[in-house]
């Protein structure tokens, strides 16, 4: 087995050891799911469709969004910050591997563990509460999976970029939480951007964040026509590549400036 895969495997093993965390997360997420469905019921109050999406679509949107939220938890920013502050980044750098590759493998391992521990139970609860959240079609499901994967990478690179700051500032402090809230809001994970006023929406759609939640979710519920899906996915791939290049440049710059803390 390849070293990176083994790192992921170790993370899955480690995650399985923590059960309390799983139960409490699922309970809280169920509450959020239920509250959001009540919100949509009140907001629609019998209206057939708003901006092309039905109430049923929005409940599916919310359910899948909550599940995605559990899969898109990124450890990389705190991982870098902690390694830099304690100086253990030295140990990571002493291995003949790409350290960011290792960090990505760790996050993917966590993601895989979250899939079984959180996503599957949440999908079951969601199905019991509101019926199975059906995708628009099988093709839409496949396109959703692809879009989700690219969204995952974009989300990871953004987190890693924030993590790089830690090499300079040593701590990230409230930045991590601030980024979390802003991303949740701007990525359409709670409210799809199509409910926002046109001007504001155009600004948000020009940013990379909507590619993480709204694009895959919109594809899932069939909000976009096929040609729009193609165009937006191309744009999403462009963002992913552009952010990757930026990250690579900064990461090389940072490597030259690394100071290891502690004797």
């Amino acid at each position: 087995m390849n070293a990176y895969l083994f790192v992921s495997k170790i993370r899955i093993q480690t995650a399985l050891a923590y059960r309390f965390n799983v139960i409490s997360t699922i309970l809280i997420q169920c509450l959020i799911m239920y509250a959001m469905s009540c919100f949509w019921a009140a907001a629609y109050s019998g209206a057939e469709k708003v901006s092309g999406a039905s109430q049923r679509d929005m409940i599916t949107y919310t359910t899948i969004s909550v599940i995605m939220g559990n899969l898109l938890t990124m450890g990389v920013q705190n991982r870098i910050a902690r390694s830099v502050r304690t100086g253990s980044v030295a140990l990571d750098l002493l291995k003949p591997v790409n350290i960011y590759g290792v960090y990505l493998a760790e996050d993917l391992g966590d993601c895989a563990a979250a899939f079984f521990q959180k996503a599957v139970p949440l999908l079951l609860v969601g199905t019991v509460l509101f019926g199975f959240p059906m995708p628009a079609s099988a093709v839409h499901l496949l396109l959703f999976l692809f879009s989700f994967a690219i969204g995952y990478l974009i989300n990871w690179i953004l987190a890693a970029l924030l993590g790089l700051c830690a090499f300079k500032t040593l701590t990230l402090g409230p930045l991590v939480n601030a980024k979390g809230f802003i991303m949740k809001l701007l990525s359409g994970s709670i409210f799809p951007l199509w409910f926002f006023p046109a001007g504001f929406r155009q600004v948000l759609e020009a940013l990379p964040f909507m590619n993480i939640y709204q694009l895959p979710l919109g594809i899932y519920i069939g909000q976009y026509a096929m040609d729009e899906i193609m165009l937006r996915t191309a744009l999403q791939l462009f963002w992913c590549a552009a952010l990757w290049v930026l990250f690579d440049v900064l990461q090389k710059k940072m490597a030259a400036a690394i100071l290891i803390q502690g004797g």
Binding site: Q13, V89, L91, L94, P96, V97, A255, I258, I260, G263
Partner: protein, 329 residues
């Protein structure tokens, strides 16, 4: 053949000067005064394959900074490092493949998993063949008996066991060069003994070149053919431990108990003290041997008991550190 070559190595970093009090704190928000600190100041040395070299110096002398640059995790401000002909700054991955590093104060073992799991991970990271892996683990186990706790989660290991685990982890891929940063720190006598035995064995078996950073001079005395002493970023001594002792403390003390109180002077030894029947002579090793001295004196008066006192290594090293500081000041 020199496996490690270091020439004119310098590491500078900027330190922010914080001003005192609330006023200072507010001022610091707007203007920051930085000063440049030279942690490593023009160091050059080379190390031959198969040597064990003690790299010692007081706290903050620049030892760890040097080790970090040697292993490629920190870039020097200027100067050149070659490990087996390769610069770790240019090709970190290639250099670390042939490097083992143990930090006594930091563990590379995975806290949550059993010890063997970390070894399995390292096997994949260094792409060690199954056969080589089993062989290496077998050899290391022979010296260290780690199979007794290989299935224990790392967080349940004692410090001594953890250190053994870390040493084995660093040697699994049979690196040619091993950096040990305070490997005996905090260990009890027994664990210290077994760590030193381990270092000796791997040095002899595989001709592993070892650089050892430590504050425990017992480690140095037992293991190192050569010591490099560094203070305030510069090398102040480089040579064998015996030469160093001869240079700093060329004197030895001979204590003689006679049957009666007597005073017997000797042309090649200074009579330091005479108390009742006990006399203490100070002499230089290169001027006269202890045997000769005893013989000469016993011609004059019968001797009951003799004792020989060497300069203490701790005192010698302390003298070197102090000299180093005054030189620079």
């Amino acid at each position: 053949m020199n496996i490690i070559e270091v020439s004119h190595l310098v590491k500078e970093y900027k330190k922010i000067k914080k001003e005192r009090g609330l006023r200072g704190a507010v001022k610091n928000l707007f203007v920051q005064n930085t000063e440049t600190v030279r942690a490593v100041d023009d160091i050059s040395f080379s190390i031959e394959k198969g040597d064990i070299v003690g790299y010692i110096g007081p706290n903050g002398a620049g030892k760890s900074t040097t080790v970090k640059m040697l292993s490629g995790i920190m870039r020097p401000t200027s100067g050149e490092i070659l490990i087996d002909g390769i610069s770790p700054q240019e090709d970190r991955k290639r250099v670390v493949r042939n490097l083992g590093v143990v930090f006594g104060q930091r563990s590379q073992l995975n806290w949550d998993l059993r010890l063997g799991e970390t070894f399995e991970l390292l096997k994949r990271i260094y792409q060690i063949e199954d056969k080589t892996y089993t062989e290496n683990l077998g050899t290391l186990n022979e010296i260290f008996q780690i199979d007794r706790f290989i299935d224990t989660p790392v967080r349940q290991l004692s410090l001594g066991q953890r250190m053994r685990g870390d040493l084995v982890a660093a040697m699994l891929h049979s690196p040619e060069v091993l950096f040990l940063d305070e490997p005996t720190i905090g260990l009890d006598v027994e664990a210290k003994y077994s760590v030193r035995k381990f270092i000796k064995e791997i040095n002899q078996r595989g001709k592993t070149t070892i650089i050892l950073t430590t504050h425990d001079l017992g480690d140095i005395q037992e293991l190192c053919q050569r010591v490099i002493i560094i203070n305030e970023g510069a090398i102040i001594e480089d040579g064998s431990l015996d030469d160093l002792i001869d240079k700093i403390a060329p004197y030895r003390h001979l204590i003689i108990d006679f049957y009666h109180p007597v005073t017997i002077p000797h042309p090649h030894a200074e009579l330091v003290s005479v108390r009742e029947a006990r006399s203490v002579y100070r002499f230089r090793k290169d001027e006269i041997t202890a045997a000769r001295l005893i013989e000469d004196i016993s011609h004059t008066a019968p001797i009951k008991e003799v004792g020989l006192e060497e300069a203490k290594i701790d005192d010698i090293i302390r003298t070197v550190y102090q000299q180093g500081s005054t030189c620079k000041a």
